[in-house]
């Protein structure tokens, strides 16, 4: 048993729903109790889809449990076939149905439906949403793919995009355009937009572009093993990764087309003098492994940030992320407990978080700006505008997204210079955002109860402020610390305390503060 409040991933059958909802002509019959239909709203509300997910829920109740839930399943399956006339059906169980062991796959097979019926085994008490999507798409491919003659021109399949994916809609367009520049066509995009008959034709392509390893790797590996189709290992998020991706595609195909970089603006924006203030900004990265890996490289090499910590919530990729963290001289945080992530962020005191919607909330609580780089995301991260993460335009979008939450160059200096201006004081936060002022709770150190305990200002005449019992702040030093703008204050506090602790200084004075500042000067 594990106590949690928020989860990064839903249960595995939600992953299966993401595949089914992305596809056309496929129906999912899910053995599930009333209430599991909540998952429809992820698609209809959060992603704003204009169709119900193609899912039929058997909706069994307590009174059915003693009698015949298998019968319910078969009725639901038959009704779904009659009503929706899908090209293929996937069948499975949600967490509760798994416990009553009706074997939906076996039941559906005995019904003699005139279409392929694909059974799913998604262990709800061990695995999660991404596994569910990956496994479902793999099973669909395994059941439906047939050998085909290759297309005349060089073509690729785009593998991995699903319903409810983070920017999948726009990434597909960007990667399609990129391949077009290289003289490569797209045979199929799957699961998103593909019908079961499109899946059957996947083998007509010359190779696969694995866009999202989280949801497409099992299928890509199987297509390589069973049908000799190579797949790309580089995910083209960021300038460097996109160049590497192009090189990899050229290597796989011998394509000679030239990518048009005229729309790529990140490199110049990053070089322009206004961006100098980005240098060495300490960022903490958390999300799914693929986006974190890409973001780490962009942060260091393309934005000039310093990666203060990184991690991912999908354990399946723990090894990759640990290796990545070693490259960045930090330790990887592999967890799906958002409180652990919050503690790690609190300890690292970054100047910005690049994370998921969970970290956005953490950032709000700690008064640290946050930009979203990965699922899970909320409705505002499904924007109306074209907003990819991949390719050249993706790099442009990422530059804008990451810079946006920060205090801008000269504003940062003005805050340093006139700290006590009543309107532009640092507690007000970046001036281009309304209501982004940090919670004073961030300064309190302890976990606030419901964010309510906003501490009183520390008066200069109160006794020394104990922090963790070993190092104490003199009132003057504490006051001086308050004059440091909020976006670096946490770091200043932490640096000063470790500086003092290393030297056996037990009381921090204004002197200590500035000695530490000189020591850590960069």
């Amino acid at each position: 048993m594990k106590l949690t409040v928020w989860t990064y991933e839903g249960p595995p059958h939600v992953g299966a729903m993401r595949v089914a909802t992305g596809m056309r002509g496929l129906h999912y019959v899910l053995h599930a109790p009333q209430g599991d239909t909540y998952a429809d709203l992820l698609f209809t509300m959060i992603e704003r889809r204009d169709h119900r997910p193609p899912v039929t829920y058997t909706t069994f109740q307590a009174r059915d449990l003693g009698s015949d839930t298998a019968h319910l399943f078969k009725d639901a399956c038959r009704d779904a076939y009659e009503r929706f006339k899908p090209e293929a059906i996937i069948v499975g169980a949600s967490c509760t149905a798994e416990l009553i062991q009706d074997d939906p796959g076996g039941l559906a097979e005995t019904m003699g439906l005139p279409i392929p019926v694909i059974p799913l085994e998604l262990p709800s008490y061990q695995r999660k949403e991404n596994f569910g999507a990956d496994e479902t798409f793999f099973q669909i491919a395994r059941h439906l793919v047939r050998p085909q003659e290759k297309t005349a021109g060089i073509t690729a399949n785009l593998i991995g995009p699903t319903g409810l994916g983070y920017r999948h809609r726009d990434d597909i367009e960007e990667v399609t355009a990129l391949l077009h520049d290289l003289g490569i066509g797209v045979n199929a995009v799957a699961p998103m937009g593909a019908s079961p008959s499109d899946i059957a034709r996947l083998t007509a392509a010359h190779f696969n572009v694995l866009m999202y390893p989280e949801t497409g790797e099992a299928a890509a590996r199987w297509l390589e093993r069973a049908h000799g189709m190579a797949y790309t290992k580089t995910v083209p998020i960021g300038v460097g990764a996109t160049h590497d991706f192009i090189a990899e595609v050229r290597g796989l195909t011998g394509a000679t087309g030239v990518a048009d970089t005229s729309r790529l603006r990140l490199p110049w924006y990053s070089k322009s003098v206004d961006s100098t203030y980005l240098t060495g900004k300490r960022v903490f990265l958390f999300g799914d492994a693929t986006h974190v890996k890409a973001a780490a490289r962009i942060a260091r090499d393309e934005m000039g940030f310093e990666v203060a910590g990184l991690g991912c919530y999908n354990r399946e990729f723990a090894r990759d992320i640990r290796a990545l963290a070693r490259d960045f001289g930090t330790e990887a945080l592999i967890t799906d407990d958002y409180l652990e992530v919050e503690h790690a962020i609190e300890a690292a005191q970054p100047e910005m978080i690049l994370g998921t919607q969970m970290e956005r909330h953490v950032g709000k609580r700690l008064g640290i700006p946050c930009a979203v780089i990965s699922a899970p995301v909320h409705v505002q991260d499904y924007p109306a505008r074209y907003s990819p993460q991949m390719g050249w335009e993706g790099a442009n979008v990422i530059f804008d997204t990451w810079v946006h939450p920060l205090v801008m160059g000269l504003e940062e200096h003005l805050l340093h210079m006139f700290r006590e201006d009543f309107e532009f004081h640092d507690e007000a936060g970046p001036s281009h955002h309304g209501g982004h002022a940090p919670r004073a709770a961030a300064e309190a150190g302890g976990p606030p109860l419901d964010g309510q305990n906003i501490p009183e200002e520390t008066a200069a005449d109160v006794p020394v402020v104990q922090t963790d019992g070993s190092v104490a702040w003199m009132p003057d030093a504490e006051k001086e610390l308050k004059k440091i703008p909020f976006f670096v204050r946490g770091k200043a506090r932490r640096n000063t305390e470790s500086f003092a602790a290393e030297r056996g200084v037990r009381e921090i004075s204004v002197e200590t503060l500035y000695e530490a500042k000189a020591h850590y000067a960069r």
Binding site: M1, T7, G10, P33, D36, R49, T96, P123, Q357, D450
Partner: protein, 428 residues
Amino acid sequence: MNDASPIAPATGCRNTPILKERGQREVFCGLTGIIWLHRKMQDAFFLVVGSRTCAHLLQSAAGVMIFAEPRFGTAILEESDLAGLADAHEELDREVARLLSRRPDIRQLFLVGSCPSEVIKLDLERAAERLTTAYAPHVRVLNYSGSGIETTFTQGEDACLAAMVPVMPKTEARELLLVGALPDVVEDQALGLLEALGIGPVRCLPARRADDAPAIGPNTVFALTQPFLGDTHAALERRGARHIPAPFPFGEEGTTAWLRAVAAEFGVPDARFEEVTAAPRARARKAIAAQAAELGGKSVFFFPDSQLEVPLARFLTRECGMEAIEVGSPFIHKGLVGPDLDLMAEGPVISEGQDVDLQLDRARAARPDLTVCGLGLANPLEAEGFATKWAIELVFTPVHFYEQAGDLAGLFSRPLRRRAKLKLEAAE
């Protein structure tokens, strides 16, 4: 006292045959009630014993995650709990100990059963008794089921309140008990009206804090403010309390009828009643009239959601001039919504339960001007050209009593007004 009593139609809907359906239900389970209950009871914590699905439901249903640490959580059952490798009770005790040591402000802990915990027959009642003994007197531990196999959406609140009734202290006092979790602002308005009528003492279930928990006994009379509290109603009667049947306090007419029933019980003179209610009634009527201009003559179709459907259909048909085509509800408890059914003129299909695809077929055939439905259906129906009102907002918005009557009508008129306002098509 008959001057202002609502005039019932010649034939109401009480005896209309109910279309009972059994099939796919597009509704939440009872766990969803935790979203508002945990804000209402400020020293209570709701610990769901369930699966990752339960946790995911709560965060998805909350829509926007509550950024302060919420007073609910899910103890997620893992493979080892199911295989019997770990004693689930020991695991639960450990999680509860951790939780309570971190949150010393918690005075009431609800262990909330889910579909998986019910299926594996995890005995949460026994756990609650054991934990109550361990943490008494500071923390009281109760249990109820919010599972989808037993409860639909608002029935979760019913199960929660019903679980509190047996442990309410006993009293011989003549008191009025208001039953149902209302937004604080609405509850205060209700208490204000009752006080002005000279009715008291008035207690509320649920109380905002454990220390204010009401007592109950043979001289308690209770009025329900929500129509989905069937089990709580039964539990209160078992404790000897007496129910005051009334239409539910939605709209001017509903609020007046509800207040009048309570006033009659407490022998409030007519003159006093008129004096207290005249001004807010006039305000409510005026506020509704502004919205009714847009709603009048329009048709409405209710998909089942919160069990508020019958009283709301009564409000929309009688006070806003709408025509109800179908009033679908997860469950129709005539003992509670009977007075509302009496007031609603014969005509609409009254349906209970759901087979969502069949119901969608009926809605498409009827082409209502406004469809009230859950979040899973709203956008797909909008895309088909139907104006919709998502039903969950009716549960999350202050809509009871006089001062909210206009807002309640506004929730229904806004989707229509918006459609009329938008000019999105290319000019011909």
